[in-house]
């Protein structure tokens, strides 16, 4: 037996506790470690890119500026010039963080390096470091696991996305007009019912955001493990490309939906004519029509 399929479970493994906070200590899971690493990687990436900025960008600086420009154009096209620039930091941060968090699953060593605890599931102790190999490899506790396969992280990003959308709604429309979206007493019973439906939709959005990302990435993770077990080496390689693609698409979908829902939130429901069209030349998007038709070249 080359190796055995590792035990696949939705709950993450707690590796150790930091003596901080509650009496038992602060639990550090294998996804939390790699989340911190992701944040550090993003910091390092931008630090290296803009350590010596040049007027004509080359190398990493060029890549970062190109990504920046692409995302900024996207925001301005969907939300209009002014709102697009306002939403851009959130959309770009979510996109870059989720993208890197997703791509951890194709990095070698993630989920294949860990320990086999003595006595756990009846396995014998095999030393502190253990690679996914041999007959006991199904008892492996991985040190690193892709952060997006932890529902806590995806739920956190989804809550951030929805809360920020609400805050922009409050700021742009004013507290009173924004609340009447959910407490609409002007139009009688129908208005109140629609208000409740809006509230249910907001809750459903948090869950759909988090479960979409979690589901796609956890499924991809399991797919890679199973394929590495069924068709080692050659057969599994194709699925690494698939997961590269899926990771990008899911990050893009998350950022794009955040952007679209932010645009919808700052759009007045009752008086669409209040808001003028953005003054930009190439992104002529009226505020009440948040996703304009593609401008044919």
């Amino acid at each position: 037996m080359l190796w055995q399929l590792p035990h696949i479970g939705v709950p993450v493994d707690t590796l150790f506790y930091i003596p901080f906070g509650n009496p038992n200590g602060f639990p550090v899971s294998n996804t939390l470690i790699i989340t911190w690493v992701t944040i550090l990687v993003i910091f390092a990436f931008f630090f290296v890119a803009f350590r010596k900025p040049k007027l004509v960008p080359r190398g990493i600086q060029n890549l970062v500026e190109w990504t920046f420009q692409l995302l900024l154009n996207l925001c301005e096209e969907v939300a209009g010039k002014e709102d697009g620039r306002r939403f851009f930091p959130w959309v770009a941060t979510i996109f870059m963080f989720v993208l890197l968090a997703n791509w951890w699953e194709i990095v070698p060593g993630v989920e294949s390096l860990g320990t086999v605890e003595p006595g756990v599931h009846g396995a014998q102790h095999l030393g502190p470091i253990y690679f996914l190999f041999g007959t006991n490899s199904n008892h492996l506790t991985a040190w690193l696991r892709p952060p997006s396969t932890d529902l806590n992280l995806t739920l956190a990003i989804a809550i951030i996305s929805v809360v920020i959308t609400q805050i922009y709604g409050f700021r742009k429309l004013g507290a009173f007009q924004h609340i009447t979206k959910y407490l609409n007493y002007h139009e009688g019973v129908m208005g109140i019912l629609v208000g409740i439906l809006e509230f249910v939709l907001e809750l459903a959005r948090i869950i759909s955001f988090s479960f979409r990302l979690f589901g796609n990435l956890f499924a991809g993770d399991v797919l890679l493990l199973v394929m590495a077990f069924l068709v080692p080496f050659a057969g599994a390689t194709a699925f690494y490309f698939l997961e590269l693609f899926v990771g990008f698409i899911q990050a893009f979908v998350f950022a794009m939906l955040t952007l679209v829902f932010m645009t919808l939130a700052v759009t007045s429901h009752e008086h669409p004519e209040e808001h003028d069209a953005p003054t930009s030349g190439h992104a002529a998007a009226p505020a009440h029509e948040p996703i304009p038709a593609s401008t044919a070249a």
Partner: protein
């Protein structure tokens, strides 16, 4: 920067928005119903009114799903 962009026809990133919004349609129906069901079960558990609030919550979730899909589709270009 602007001049360079105008010269060549670049793929319009905005074409992605309708596709992604349509992908949200299925999620909206399913998770709205789940949220409605969850609210109904919670109310039933708290006030011991077992089937009533669950049924109302489920119907509310279904209505929210249909309304949400209507909102999504009407925001498409």
């Amino acid at each position: 920067m602007k001049n360079h962009d105008d010269e060549k026809p670049k793929p319009n990133t905005n074409d992605w928005a309708p596709l992604i919004l349509l992908g949200q349609v299925g999620f909206t129906i399913v998770f709205s119903m789940l949220v409605g069901l969850g609210i109904g079960l919670f109310i039933d558990h708290q006030f011991h009114t077992t089937p009533i609030a669950t049924i109302i919550g489920l119907l509310l979730g279904l209505a929210a799903g249909v309304y949400g899909v209507y909102r999504l589709v009407s925001s498409l270009p």
